[in-house]
C-alpha cells in the first residue's frame, strides 16, 4: 500500500445526524477512497453519506495539551444551566 495514501473515513449513519469517524482506508485517490469506504464500512446500511479525508491533512491536538486545552472549562460552572438555582414556582425552565 506504499503508493496508496491513507484516508480517514467519516460516515453519516442517518439523515439528521453528524458524520462520525469510523476508521480508515488506503486508496489511490479520493474517489477510490469513497468506493473502498463504501465496501468496507457500509455493507449493512450503516450510512447515507461518506466523507474521506487524507490522513496527512488532519491536525490533531496532542494528549500533552489536554490540561491547557480542556481544564479551563472545568472551573466555569456558571456555564451550566444547573448552576442557576430558581424557586420551585418557576417550574420547568
Amino acid at each position: 500500500m506504499a503508493d496508496w495514501p491513507l484516508f480517514e473515513v467519516f460516515i453519516r449513519s442517518k439523515h439528521g445526524l453528524n458524520h462520525k469517524h469510523v476508521g480508515s482506508v488506503h486508496a489511490a485517490d479520493r474517489r477510490m477512497a469513497i468506493e473502498n469506504a463504501r465496501e468496507l464500512y457500509t455493507r449493512r446500511n450503516e450510512g447515507v453519506s461518506i466523507w474521506v479525508v487524507p490522513a496527512s491533512e488532519i491536525t490533531a491536538s496532542s494528549p500533552d495539551e489536554k490540561e491547557p486545552l480542556f481544564d479551563p472549562s472545568n472551573d466555569k460552572v456558571y456555564r451550566h444551566a444547573s448552576f442557576y438555582k430558581l424557586p420551585k414556582e418557576v417550574g420547568h425552565m
Binding site: W4, G23, A28, D29, M32, L40, A60, P63
Partner: protein, 328 residues
Amino acid sequence: MYAQLVETGTSKLRTLDEMSPEERQFQERINDEIKIEPKNWMPDAYRKTLIRQISQHAHSEIVGMLPEGNWLTRAPTLKRKLQLMAKIQDEAGHGLYLYSAMETLGADRDEEIDKLHDGRAKYSSIFNYPTLNWADMGTIGWLVDGAAIVNQVPLQRTSYGPYARAMIRVCKEESFHQRQGYQILLTMMQEGTDDQKAMVQDSINRFWWPALMMFGPSDENSPNSAQSMAWKIKRHSNDELRQRFLDQTVPQLELLGCTAPDQDLKYNQETGHYEFGAIDWQEFFDVVKGNGPCNRERVEARRNAIDNGAWVREAAVAHAAKRQRRAA
C-alpha cells in the same frame, strides 16, 4: 484464538512501584478502564505486542477466506453461494478494520503482510485444515466463527481504543456467520439424505478438536498471558474461553443430532460445565510451526494474490494520476 501465542517480550510482571512514572500512569489508566488512544504514551513492549496481536488477528481473517473460497463455485444453490460470498467479503472487511487499527500504532501494512508471507508472522491454526465437503462450510461458520465470537466479545473491552472499536464492528457482523453456518448443518441433518448427514458428522469429527485448539495452549503453558491480561489486551484465560465455548456448543451439537469425536465428553452436574478429553497439543504446535495440512498452500495463495495483483495496484495509481491531470 484468532491470535495465538502472542509474545509480549516481557518475562515477569512488574508492580506499579517498579515502573517509571510514565509507565505507572499508563498502567493506572488501564486499571481504571480508560482507553489508550494512538497518541497516548505507551511502553514499547505494549505497542509491539499489540502490533503482533492485531496483525495476527488480521492475517487470520484474510487467510480465513481461503478455506471457504474453495466452496464458492461448488455451493449447492445460488442462495448459499450468495451467503457464502457475503460472509467471505465480511472476513476481508474484518481483516481491513484490523490492519487499519494496527496502522494507528505506527506499523506499516506492507511490512506486516511481508511478515505473513515469509513466515515471521502467524495466523490462527484453524485455517490450516482443508475443507473437504460442503458441510465444512456449515461447520466453519458454526464452530470456527462461534469460537471467534467467544474470543472477540471480551476484546470489545480491550484497552487499546482502535482495537476495541474494530472488535465492536467485527462482533456485530460475526453472528450472521455463525447462524448461517449452523443453518447449513441443520438443513442437511433435517432434510438431507443419509449421505448428507454422514457428511455433517464427518465434518464435525475433523473440525471439533482444531476448533478447541483455537483458544491456544492451556493456561499452564501460556507464558505471555499474565502480561497481556495486565495490559487488558487479553481479558480471559485460554482455558476459561475454551470452557465457555464448549458449554454453549455441546447443546447445539445435540440439537443437530450429531456427536463429538470425544469419548470423555460429559456434563458435570456439580460444576454445571462440560468436561472434555485431552487435547493433542503436539498437533497444535505442529500446525502453528507451519506443518499443518495446508500451511504452505495457504501462504502461497496469499503470496500469489499479492504478486499477481501488483498490476491492479499499479493501474489504479496510473488511473488516479490520469484523472488528476485531466481535472487540472
